[in-house]
Amino acid sequence: MLFYSYFKTLVGKEVTVELKNDLAITGTLHSVDQYLNVKLNNVKVVNEAKYPHMMSVRNCFIRGSVVRYVQLPPGSVDIEILHDATRREARG
């Protein structure tokens, strides 16, 4: 549940989600659920010329299982909090 909680703190931030089919989608994080499925608003596909497949989509739901990376805004990553939380989780 750690990363679920962590992603919830990023709601409203602009993120780029890279999928396991190499498609990368930028948008405002709207919500996340327990499977790390994410919903993005106002999406823009990175390299739209190559990937015009989502040109008429403004809001989307991305299944957690196909996410390769989530690129976060550097300013909103508090490494100290993540350190503490991961250590606490590892200790059990």
Partner: protein
């Protein structure tokens, strides 16, 4: 938590037109009639948009009701009717999306 899940789910998309990208790279457009927690979808009045780098987008009517298994779904997009009408599908040239490689 229950409120979170409701917001996070697909409830707001039921009975609207959606564009689904499957794990094998296909793009299916249809009306969402139902879904569950595994992202299995029930789609009505479906058609597939077949992309090609040589010719425009081909719309293949699949018709009827389809169930798409959640394991096979990558993205569910809310199709914006205005944006969609501005598209000139016959002019779009693009290679089909790659399949998901886990």
């Amino acid at each position: 938590m229950a409120a979170d899940l409701q917001e996070a789910g697909l409830a707001s998309l039921v009975d609207t037109t959606i564009s689904v990208i499957t794990n094998d790279g296909r793009n299916i457009v249809g009306i969402l009639r139902g879904y569950d927690q595994a992202t299995n979808l029930i789609l009505d009045e479906c058609h597939e948009r077949v992309y090609s780098s040589k010719s425009g987008v081909d719309q293949v009517v699949l018709g009827g009701l389809h169930v798409v298994r959640g394991d096979n779904i990558a993205v569910v997009g809310e199709l914006d009717d205005d944006l969609d009408q501005q598209l000139n599908l016959s002019q779009i040239r693009a290679a089909p999306l790659k399949a998901v490689q886990h």
